[in-house]
């Protein structure tokens, strides 16, 4: 075998061995999971429930296949399962649900609202009686900590910790879609809007 042929062969093997796997964030599946979890967290909240579900049924279902960007070798789609749970997700969901009941009056009054990063924040503390402000500060702090942990845990059990921010964004969008009429949310520009 000549040197040139050997070189060509090695190059061919090297090229064919280059596999680029692009795993895309499965947004539709994440939206469904977000809807399920949000509904679970605010399970006793009847109002504003249907609008979100209607949207979900119109969403594309299934997973986006991963695509090999250079098409040199077949890519391997990695299945995400946003319905998978873990002790942590179950605990966090239960904790979020319990605290949501205590936060509900403050959503309704406009004292707190949803944020564009999938959390909650104070919109107007002056709508909260003075004696309750520290308690609500604690509730908001704890609820946000649980949401942060839940987003990270969902990403972790799907084997993609780097999806945390994408999951957070999906939840933020779905929360706003499913927000009860009259609730406030803060858009990406930092402006509060009323649903």
């Amino acid at each position: 075998m000549t040197k040139a042929i050997r070189l060509l062969l090695i190059s061919a093997i090297a090229v064919s061995a280059c596999v680029t796997i692009n795993v895309y964030f499965p947004e539709a599946a994440a939206e469904e999971a977000a809807d399920r979890i949000i509904d679970e967290v605010r399970a006793d909240d009847d109002n504003g429930f249907s609008s979100g579900l209607l949207d979900v049924t119109n969403k594309l279902r299934g997973m986006m296949a991963s695509i090999a960007s250079l098409a040199i070798a077949p890519a391997h789609a990695q299945k995400a399962n946003f319905d998978a749970s873990s002790p942590a997700t179950r605990t966090l969901e239960a904790s979020l649900k319990k605290r949501f009941g205590q936060l509900r009056p403050y959503y309704a009054s406009g004292a707190i609202g949803l944020t564009a990063d999938g959390l909650i924040d104070f919109r107007d503390r002056n709508l909260i009686p003075l004696s309750e402000r520290n308690r609500v500060r604690q509730l908001v702090n704890d609820q946000n900590a649980d949401w942060q942990a839940l987003y990270a845990e969902i990403a972790r059990i799907n084997g993609h910790p780097e999806w945390t921010d994408s999951i957070r964004k999906v939840f933020a969008d779905r929360w706003i879609v499913k927000a009860q009429s009259g609730w406030y949310y803060r858009d990406g520009s930092g402006n509060w809007k009323q649903k």
């Binding site: 873990s86 503390r125 520290n134 500060r137």
Partner: protein, 682 residues
């Protein structure tokens, strides 16, 4: 002082133009003074383009004072029923009826008013100006929001709040003294962020200030009394309903109202908090105490905790809903803008968080802290006696701690013995650093004096274990959000040894703590163990290895576990009928056991050669196997002699959560559940 610009004469009217009059505290520009002696229309009128007065009044534009009745007697002009007009930012439109007196030779002007509109109300009072200075008095009722708007240009703080309610004001001002009394009713205010707000406040404020001369500092005494209402200054919440507040401040204010010299503060919030402070040096822009001695005579719980402490703990997950009692007092010093020392005496203090299963009772003693710059050799010793408490619902008895606290940490000076039921946890060493920061770190080394497992497991809500727990906790460290153990945790239970190796806990104080460890059990007495779980009696000895254990929030999510008859076991090995049924149930036998019929039913227990079970947990699936392969399955129990019984499992994969339920069912009932195992009598 005055520059005569010119004079004009008309029939019965005299007019005098003066360009400017300057006093020590005021000036008048574009002055025109007119007198009319016309019997049909007598008047005296003084107009000025601008009157400049001291702050906060400052400039008054287009001033006019026209008196319907006037007289000139011995060089004094007196005006009655004078209409005062002017434009001023404080008063917006100055409009009042005044009585005026001007001493021409003395250049002294004075006026009195009854109904001067100001801040939503009216003021009655007087103003006098002469070469020596000025003096004013005012009394009346003002609206808080209107007053805020009037004074807003003076302070950005006032610009960002809204309020309502009303004040009664009675004040005397001069360029050398202020004596003011305000009585407030139903005052409410709030800033835009809602971080400073008050509601339904009633009370009084008296101010007494004086200075020796222009440019000299003001000596100020202020006394505040709040008799009703509530206030929130994040993170402090103040409730004045049934708990009135009195506060007194004595200070000296120099240029730009900055404190100069010593400031003393006495603060008394009913029985909740009493504080006195001697502040040697401070600034208000920005607010910073440079040097002070602060004495807290009293902090009474629970109201002191709810009002003054709780808000600072937001974000600390272990201290959410503390119920407190007792009281504390102490002192602190501040030097160079930083705390230098704190001493806190606790008297019968208790804290209870039922949700977290945490409590401490009857805590008494003195905590002494020094700044990090202090020589460690000279640190004062803190000593606490803790009457008792609970941790994770486990009762802890009386203990005494001697420790030193400095900088952001501290350490035990001598072992701390925490009695737990009949035994104790003896903490030999404990040191902590990074308190109050994200860099919290501590080291801990302890021994367990034998603790009765029966009471311990009952308290923890676990199945009741007999026997005792003892062992040692080698150096346990917490750093960067992770607990690691510098050796092997050893304990004795069920007459055997249990060790924890490679223990690591991520975020132990977080929402989702994650634990990794390997657990090894050696020579456990199965008779003691099976007494606990009531799954039927098994005699013999058991070893176990749970490797690569990962638990998230207390729930196992992965491990590789093996439990097997101890290789060195020479003891009698028997398994009861019920235990056979339970093992079948755990492994999931759906059929009626052969034990309950035929000759086997006459035997209460059976000899066995060995038993064991393996489970490798991954992705909520337990891959099961036994002590050795069997035809299409694996042995869970391998019998010996006659009547011989073998328990063989056939299921290789079991959903973990379902298996846990089966175990719980088996423990609860000792009965067979569902699945695919078989027990065969031979």
């Amino acid at each position: 002082m005055a520059a005569l610009a010119g004079a004009a004469h008309a029939i019965g009217t005299v007019s005098l133009d003066v360009e400017q009059i300057n006093g020590r505290q005021f000036s008048l520009h574009g002055l025109v003074f007119s007198l009319s002696a016309d019997p049909a229309n007598p008047f005296a009128e003084l107009t000025a383009e601008r009157l400049t007065l001291p702050a906060p009044v400052n400039d008054v534009a287009n001033v006019s004072v026209r008196c319907a009745r006037w007289g000139l007697d011995a060089g004094v002009v007196q005006g009655r029923q004078c209409a005062l007009r002017g434009e001023n930012s404080l008063f917006v439109e100055l409009r009042a009826t005044v009585e005026l007196r001007y001493d021409i030779s003395g250049k002294a002007l004075s006026l009195e008013f009854d109904e001067l509109p100001f801040a939503g109300g009216t003021l009655a009072g007087s103003l006098s100006l002469d070469d020596t200075g000025w003096k004013a008095t005012a009394r009346g009722t003002l609206q808080a929001e209107a007053l805020r708007q009037a004074l807003a240009p003076l302070s950005p703080v006032l610009d960002s709040v809204e309020g309502n309610g009303e004040f009664d004001v009675d004040a005397t001002f001069s360029d050398r003294s202020v004596n003011a009394s305000l009585r407030a009713r139903d005052i409410a205010f709030a800033n835009e962020l809602g971080t400073a707000a008050a509601d339904a406040l009633s009370g009084s404020l008296s101010l007494d200030a004086k200075r020796s001369g222009e440019g000299a500092p003001w000596q100020l005494s202020a006394a505040l009394a709040v008799t009703q209402g509530e206030a929130f200054f994040e993170p402090v919440y103040l409730n004045f309903f049934n708990a009135p507040l009195t506060a007194r401040v004595d200070t000296a204010l120099g240029e730009d109202w900055q404190p100069v010299g010593k400031t003393t503060v006495a603060y008394r919030h009913e029985d909740t908090l009493h504080v006195e402070a001697d502040i040697a040096s401070m600034t208000t822009r920005p607010y910073r105490i440079e040097s002070a001695d602060i004495t807290m005579q009293r902090l009474q719980f629970p109201q002191g905790y709810l009002g003054y402490v709780r808000g600072f703990l937001v974000g600390m997950p272990l201290l959410n809903e503390l119920q407190t009692k007792g009281q504390a007092h102490g002192f602190a010093t501040i030097r160079n803008g930083l705390p230098q020392q704190v001493s806190l005496v606790l008297d019968n203090v208790g804290a209870d968080d039922p949700q977290a299963g945490f409590a401490v009772y009857d805590v008494a003693g003195q905590l002494q802290w020094r700044s990090g710059d202090t020589d460690p050799e000279t640190l004062p010793v803190s000593k606490l006696r803790i009457g008792g408490g609970f941790l994770a619902n486990v009762s802890i008895g009386e203990s005494i701690a001697r420790l030193v606290l400095h900088g952001s940490g501290g350490r035990l000076l001598e072992p701390l013995r925490l009695p737990i039921f009949s035994g104790a946890l003896q903490v030999n060493t404990f040191s902590v650093d990074g308190l109050g920061s994200d860099d919290l770190a501590f080291d801990f080394e302890a021994e367990l004096e034998p603790i009765g497992l029966r009471r311990l497991t009952t308290a923890l809500g676990w199945p009741v274990f007999p026997g005792q727990l003892s062992g040692s906790l080698p150096l346990l460290s917490y750093k960067n959000g992770q607990v690691t153990v510098g050796g092997t945790l050893e304990a004795r239970a069920f007459d055997g040894a249990i060790t924890l190796e490679d223990l690591r806990i991520e975020q132990p104080f977080g929402i989702v703590p994650e634990l990794d460890a390997t657990i090894r059990m050696r020579n456990l007495d199965l008779a003691l163990l099976t007494d606990v779980f009531t799954i039927g009696r098994i005699e013999g000895r058991l070893d176990g290895d749970i490797e690569d254990l990962k638990m998230i929030k207390g729930q196992p999510v992965a491990f590789d576990a093996r439990f097997y008859t101890s290789p060195s076991d020479t003891s009698r090995r028997r398994i009861s009928q019920r235990a056979v049924g339970s093992i079948s149930g755990i492994a999931g036998d759906s059929r009626t056991p052969a034990l309950s019929s035929g000759i086997m039913q006459f035997f209460s227990d059976f000899a066995y050669e060995s038993l064991g079970i393996n489970c490798r947990l991954e992705a909520d699936v337990c891959n099961m196997s036994g002590i050795q392969p069997a035809d299409r399955g694996y042995y869970l129990v391998k019998g010996r002699s006659l009547p011989r019984i073998d328990v063989i499992g056939f299921t290789s994969e079991v959903e973990w959560t379902r298996l846990v339920k089966q175990v719980q069912q088996a423990i609860a009932s000792g009965q067979v559940a569902t699945g695919a195992t078989n027990d065969t009598g031979q």
